[in-house]
Each structure stands twice: as C-alpha cells, then as structure tokens.
C-alpha cells in the first residue's frame, strides 16, 4: 500500500528540502524576519489544518479561534505544574474532544447552519472562560512566562506544519480521504455506497481541531499575558478561512499559497495603517468571492487546463495529459 509513485517521491523530496531550508531561517535572522516567520508558520499550520476538514467536506468552520484558545489556555493554566510537551498533548486532546462534541452535535446541520454554529461555539467558550475567570479567579488574564525564544517557537511551528502536511498527505491516500471527497461531492451517494459519513466527518474535524489546539499551545508563550479576548479572538477564525480560501482548498498545499501573500500584505498594512486592517480583510474576501472562487491554486489549474486544451485544439488532437492530470 505504501508504494510511492515517482511524482510522489519528488514532492516528498522537495518537501523535505524545503523544511530543511526553512529550519535554517533562525540562524540568519532573529529580528523582524524571524518574527514574521513565526506569524507565517503559525498561519500555514492553522490554515492547512482547517483545510484538512473544510476542504473536502466544504463545511466552513469558524471554530478555529475556539480550538486555538483552548490550546492557549491549556498552556496558561498548566504551565506551573506540567512540562510543556505534556501541555501540548493536553491541548491536542482537549481540542479534539471539543471537536468531537461539536461534530456529534452538528451532524444534522449543513451549510450555513454549521458556519453559524461554529462561530457561536467559539464565542460561547470565550464568554464562559471570561466569566469563570472573573467569578472564580478574580482576574482578567493569566501570565505565561517561559524560557522559549522566538526561535524555539518558530521551530516548533515548523514541526507542527510538517506534521499537519504529513497527516494530510496520509489521509489523502487513505480510504478516509477518498470517502471525504465523495462526501464533498454528494453526501447521499456517499451513504448509499456504504460510507459512515457522520463518523468520517467527526474523525477529520477532531484531527483538524487538535492541530489548531496545538498551534494555540505553541504560541501561548508569545503572548506573555493571556486573556480571553486575545486567545479566542474571532478574527483568528476569519483570517484562517480567508487565507485558506485565497490559496484554494482543493489541494493540501493550497492554503500555503494564500497565507504567504496575505501575511505580507497584512504586515505592511498593520505597520503603516494600523486602523485599516479590517478594510484589507474585507476587500480580500470580496476579491476571493468575485474573482477567485477556487482560490489562487484553483485559478492556476484552470488556466493550465485551458492552455493545454487550446494547444491540443491547435494540433487537432485530444490532450490526454490534461485529462490524466485531473485523475491524479
């Protein structure tokens, strides 16, 4: 089953080389570029994790901030008692459990109802955390003091991104991945060919949620002071969705293509026009809806197909590779 095709080996080789190169970044820079690299790596990990579930199922989840915040709070609450790797495991476990509950509760919801439910859920968690903090702990936030430098965070996020890509790649090759593509196409057909659609969706939502929780846990030390408004900021959910859609959710590496330009533009805007970042987000969203419904990668693939077809038409023959490509 694990026999690899030649193109898969090339992708794997390229991926390993890219990871090796990226891991060298902190050795050359520790200022602005590194800090930017942490941002970039955080959103690559989160958007790819989001796409694991929302790409094939086409269910837009706005619960990312919820999982992220759960991860952040796992670290903030446990830092004095437990080692950091254990806290990361706890963050993953709690986020996955939460995703499992949400999945079980939202099985019958589809489309827009799922979106609203997930948005409401993240807000609900935020309110509950804020309320219990002021009620029982009589303070607004928690301090997170660690010895981690920006470098350590960067490497941890790079490891997480690698893990997300690895798991995503394995899922895509598995029965589960095939099942999810069928569900995304037609859920009725999926059930009638024997797919337990509910279970498949929950399993994937849990994996996606766990990765988002881990991302929150890793960057918790960066905040130093954690309060619900920051850890469960709904803007996190929106940014994840927008960047993933900008890149395109049909391929595992699609979100990557969206995160890079968007993060650069946002960095520039927040530095020059700190009060106008929501304008950028709004315009980007409109641009995606009107101009790039399948994201940048979808657009590129569409153009490539069209060029091939045109070339084939000029030569008066069918372009078999254009069709082969879609099969791959």
């Amino acid at each position: 089953m694990m026999r690899l095709r030649r193109d898969e080996l090339m992708v794997a080789g390229g991926g390993i080389a890219a990871i090796a190169l990226l891991s060298l970044l902190p050795l050359f820079s520790d200022g602005f570029v590194l800090s930017f690299g942490v941002n970039l790596m955080l959103y690559v990990a989160m958007c790819t994790a989001w796409t694991l579930f929302s790409g094939p199922t086409r269910l837009v989840s706005l619960a990312s901030a919820g999982f992220f915040g759960v991860g952040t709070y796992s670290v903030a609450l446990g830092l004095d008692f437990l080692p950091f790797p254990v806290l990361i495991a706890i963050a993953a476990f709690v986020s996955a459990a939460l995703a499992g509950l949400v999945g079980a509760a939202t099985l019958r919801l589809s489309g827009v109802y799922f979106v609203i439910f997930t948005l409401g859920l993240a807000e609900l968690i935020r309110q509950v955390v804020a309320w219990s903090q002021s009620r029982f702990a009589h303070k607004m936030g928690l301090y997170v003091f660690t010895d981690f430098t920006e470098r350590d965070l960067y490497w941890m996020l790079l490891a997480l991104t690698t893990l997300v890509f690895g798991v995503g790649w394995l899922i895509n090759r598995s029965r589960l991945g095939f099942a999810l593509r069928i569900i995304g196409d037609d859920e009725t057909v999926a059930r009638h060919v024997g797919i337990a659609t509910a279970r498949a969706k929950i399993v994937l939502f849990m994996a996606s949620g766990a990765f988002l929780g881990i991302a929150g846990a890793i960057v918790a030390p960066r905040y130093a002071y954690i309060e619900p408004q920051a850890a469960f900021n709904p803007m996190i959910s929106f940014l994840v969705v927008i960047m993933a859609l900008l890149g395109g959710t049909r391929r595992l590496w699609g979100p990557l293509v969206g995160v890079i330009p968007f993060t650069i533009v946002m960095e520039f805007i927040t530095a020059r026009f700190p009060n106008h970042s929501s304008v950028v987000i709004g315009i980007t969203f409109l641009a995606i809806v009107y101009l790039l419904p399948d994201g940048i990668t979808g657009r590129i693939e569409g153009l490539r197909d069209r060029i091939r077809h045109r070339a084939a038409a000029r030569n008066g023959i069918e372009a078999p590779e254009a069709i082969e490509e879609k099969a791959a």
């Binding site: 089953m1 029965r175 095939f178 099942a179 593509r181 069928i182 995304g184 196409d185 037609d186 009725t188 057909v189 999926a190 059930r191 009638h192 060919v193 024997g194 797919i195 337990a196 659609t197 078999p320 069709i323 082969e324 879609k326 099969a327």
Partner: protein, 244 residues
C-alpha cells in the same frame, strides 16, 4: 418462487404526516429474480425503493435482506449488508473521473476493495458498460447516458445481493434504450437479483418475469408480467375507468 428469498417486505408502511405513501405493502423477491415495480406517478414506487435502500425509515413493517432485518438501518449499513442502487435523477460524483466514480462503489460497501484491485475491478465494469478507454474522463464532461452507465457500474461495483434501479432507462433515446435493455438483461442473466422501477413498459415486458404494481401507496397486483399488465385493475390505475 422456487429459489431462496433474497428480499422480503412485510407490511411496510410509510406515512408523511397524514399522507400514506406506502400502505402495508408485502412482497418477496427470490434469488436471481428481476422484478418490475410499476405504477402511475405518485403511487409510491420510489418511496418503496427508499425504504428498501435505507434512505427512508418505514413507519411500520419489516424488510429483510437474506434474513437480516434492514428496515430502520441507516443507508450506509444497508449498503454494507448488500443493497446498491441508482437514482431517479442520475447522481454521479461531479468532481471525479469515471473510474473514480465506479471505484467509490467498490471500496466501502460489501466489496471492500482498495488500491490496485479496486481500480482493476472498476476498469472491468466500465469496459462492460462500453466505456473502455474513457476511465480518466471527468464524469461532468460525459453525456447523460454515459453518466447513467457510470452510475450503474458504481452500483455493481459493490457486488450487491440486490440491485435497485430507479427509472434507469428514463430519458434514453430509442437506440440507447435498446442498449440499456440488453445491459440489464446481461446483468440479470449473471444471476444478479434486481428490482427495477420503470415507466418504459416495453422494457418491463421484455425483461421482467414478475411485476409488483402499486397505486396510491397500496399494492394492487403481484404476478407474472404478462398477466399483470392485462389485469383490468392495473389498466384502470394507469388509464382511468373508461379504458378498463
């Protein structure tokens, strides 16, 4: 019926509020039989098919497949026990190629193939449908009849004990219809047990040994195709009192 019973439907009923779409219908289907489920529009045929395939839960009554109770089970469970179906309005997986569509049927249901064996099996079925060499064509780019062929191949890919065809011949032109009838006959001759809901009476007459006729949710006839189609009650159901 001499052969073993594959499907037995006992007093199946489905009510949507006050409307009784299927009213205490009972019939059996034997191993290898090809039966026609016919009746005028709105008589409850598709609802009956949905009860068998698990798409709908019966309000009361019991349906068994080779002795296993399937009424009330989710469609994915019914599919795993061994029922495959096509849909009244053809349902293919639009983002996938022909072979991926067929493979979908072979992976999760009774036939749990994966990888190269699943691909080979799907390729064989496509060849049987006359779609050799078109495995990698996206189904969205295929004609209506080819999509129907892909859908039928997907249903067969599960190696079902019972195959449900919901107006699979509808919408085909006369020459396609002849091909379609031959195809169903071939599948039936292999020993596959089939229930077909159909409006094309020529096909029913040529293919089916037996017919179950429904009207307004109740079963009004169950017997050999020729005699059932000559039954005054059946003619009245289709054409009204004056022509009976």
């Amino acid at each position: 019926m001499s052969a073993a019973t594959v499907l037995s439907v006992a007093r199946a009923r489905k009510a949507f509020g006050g409307l009784i779409a299927v009213n205490d219908v009972s019939f059996d289907v034997g191993e290898g039989e090809l039966i026609g489920l016919i009746g005028p529009n709105g008589s409850g045929k598709t609802t009956m098919l949905n009860l068998i395939s698990g798409a709908l839960r019966p309000t009361s009554g019991e349906i068994r497949l080779a002795g296993t109770r399937i009424s009330g089970l989710a469609p994915e469970k019914v599919a795993r026990i061994g029922i495959a179906r096509t849909f009244q309005l053809v349902r293919v997986l639009p983002s996938m190629t022909a072979i991926e569509n067929v493979t979908a049927g072979a992976v999760f249901a009774r036939n749990r193939l994966w990888g190269a064996p699943a691909q080979d099996f799907a390729r064989g079925l496509l060849a049987r449908m006359g779609l050799s060499g078109r495995e990698s064509v996206p189904v969205a780019a295929m004609t209506y009849i080819d999509q129907k062929r892909v859908e039928l191949a997907r249903a067969l890919a599960a190696d079902p004990r019972l195959l449900l065809l919901d107006e699979w011949l509808a919408g085909l032109n006369p020459s396609e219809l002849l091909l379609g009838i031959d195809l169903i006959r071939d599948i039936s001759r292999e020993g596959r047990t089939i229930i077909m809901v159909e409006h094309v009476m020529d096909a029913i007459r040529t293919l089916c040994s037996r017919c179950v006729v429904m009207n307004s949710g109740t079963m009004i006839a169950n017997g050999a195709a020729a005699s059932v189609l000559a039954d005054p009650d059946v003619i009245r159901a289709y054409l009204g009192d004056d022509d009976a």
